[in-house]
Subunit: 161 residues, 6 copies
């Protein structure tokens, strides 16, 4: 087993995808932001009346996903076809779950784009609420699904979360 | 209690820091990447012989921290004075812990820069090892310490982790 | 009278501000997007129920203002202290007026940052509504006020608009 | 009628273009900068002897158009095939008219790229001449034509200007 | 003979590539950094024990190549398929030779991407060693080979170096 | 002697400048582009009649210098106060010499900004003339002078070139 981002001599490289096939590809990633119950209430209230934390965070996630190849050194620049970011309130665990879905018709997959979207969304939630809750924790950033391309389908097993 | 990134009408804004004092400020953030034991061994081996995953990830973290205001919508552009990224292998939990420290002499804090450094470092580890281990999970991204500025010192309590 | 962005030989240059004084500076710019009355209604409705065009456009304006020195070739990179973007519905003229205010404590003014904020905000409104109204027109992008610095205060005369 | 940049629940998203056809597409946008007659004379003189305002502004417009997806939150990253920026002096109205044409062979249109090119060109003219004329006004930024793609041809009616 | 980056009137433009064919293209560029023998020894030692100058410089070169269209005003944005950067120690001449190879399946060539990769790699070597040797000189940045596209193959003649 | 961009364990870091003094600093860098005599004539002619290669290249150099911290991994983000780029035709050697001067009032020097300005200027000359002369060579990129800061003045000895 080896890491494809290095050649035989151990030098980092951008993997050559020029022989890959153009296919429809999709990746879904997830992550969570744990916070105090009062912070969560502020966010829920703000979405309707006082300020839209999640609306801003969603835009940050979408824009960051477009910059993935500028952030992750060996990622290929890609023209993503679609990015969506969704939120789920888990009141029992006092956390907001984030899900990002990215699609492309291209030579290589968009796992990193989906993971970057989730990360930037989570970091923006932190930034916008940190005056109220510096102890928030971002966790469980992971790939849920991946479709298309030679390596085929990947679906995270439920027990893994 | 309110979120400072919104005005009274709930509109997002970049908080006015022009009346703040220029002081020395520092922030320390942490995070972890959980992986298969074989992946961890590949990374440890690579650092010496075959390819330097952590060396590349550290550079990604430092460069991303410099782009914080381009990623997080309401962050101020800042001239950070120093960024360091350190790694710790936790073999029992099969995970790599990341710690980023950012300093500045400026008008506002660098918590987000430290958190962005940790996130981009972790995402780059994922990217470089994903051909071997798509199931890696990024967790526990959090602020450990913050010094300087009007809101004073913040130190995360040990039990919080 | 001469243009300061050129030297005596007519070569473009970034004007030397190293001898200028650090002072508090502020600039206010404005602009408008003219549209069909039905488009305006869609935006107003969306802000509350179906989708927040102006919330997204405001974020675009704030983020673009931070990139001013990357867009305008001879602008100095600056650490702006505050950016706000406000909207006013002018139902009679079927247009949305945009006002951006930028502050800094620095060596040079922020007129361009305010004008870039207005422009990017207006372009984002166009982008988000163009499926409904390709004929929208962006107009009257202008500097309203400027304070601080050697050239002193500038206030646009009311008749000018 | 609805705005395609939002889903049914009103959440902003990058529209999925993965099912669209790759076709040749073209967009033409226009805009104007109104100024004092003396400013216009300075620009005209400079183009030949003292400094090339329009040459710098054209480069700014071309470079900004390439950054469109970085400026407009829900725009797709695109590999534009061609960008041109032209100027026309309207001495009677003391204004410079700007026209930008952008082409692509791709999945989605380049209206925003053409509008961004015009806007950045106009803002750069403002920046380079603002030491002489702070009262300049940027107006009439609009789409003139659009060709290719499912929504077909759009040509602005002459009376619309 | 004429320069294709200008139209007949001498105005700069991004050349229209929409009628070009999608083919496999490749470019190889080279360059050198001349330094004191002691600096070269520090770099060689560092690569194994104390700090990896060339590892960091390679990442800088790869990341800069991805930003080529953001640096070179009339370059087309491209989705490069592969980038590699190699080093050769020339002890007699006390210099490090850099070679960058870039591939793409696209409408236009990647010569500039290869030249930018070499330049950013060389500049990063300078930056990382300048505390020890401010007199380093970067030279002989040139295109070695180019394949694919209508203008066909270019191979630099050996005597040219 | 050691390289300051690595800590004692050999890990790359952004050097801490927070204890440095804010002083006026200046750096001058140079470089050359060697070309066929016919190419040089095209450039000289173009500057007046057919297209302004050097005008575009100067803008590219100024804009790239502002992005230095985004290109060179361990460079600090800086607010440069002034950037100028000058050209000299050396007809005997059939080459264009480039000189860039950068100033700042800040905590760290601007040598890299001056070297990046020269490099991007040279690369843009290559790009704009490559349809006529693929064999151009960029050489002698070096620091000529540096003033300000603790390490004091550096002036390259004439014999060094």
């Amino acid at each position: 087993m080896k890491l494809t981002h290095f050649d035989k001599a151990g030098k980092a490289r951008m993997v050559d995808v020029s022989a890959k096939k153009t296919t429809q590809r999709e990746a879904v990633a997830a992550g969570s932001v744990c916070m105090k119950p009062t912070t969560m209430r502020l966010i829920k209230a703000g979405a309707f009346e006082k300020g839209d934390v999640l609306g801003v965070a969603r835009i940050a996630g979408i824009m960051a996903a477009k910059k993935t190849s500028d952030l992750i050194p060996l990622c290929h620049p890609l023209n993503v076809a679609s990015i969506t970011v969704d939120f789920f309130f888990d009141e029992d665990k006092s956390r907001i779950d984030i899900k990002a879905t990215v699609k492309i018709t291209g030579l290589t997959g968009v796992e990193m784009e989906a993971l970057v979207a989730v990360s930037a969304t989570a970091l923006t939630i932190y930034d916008m609420c940190k005056s109220a809750d510096k102890g928030m924790v971002i966790s469980d950033i992971m790939l849920l699904e991946k479709r298309g391309g030679k390596s085929g389908k990947f679906v995270r097993r439920p027990s893994a979360k």
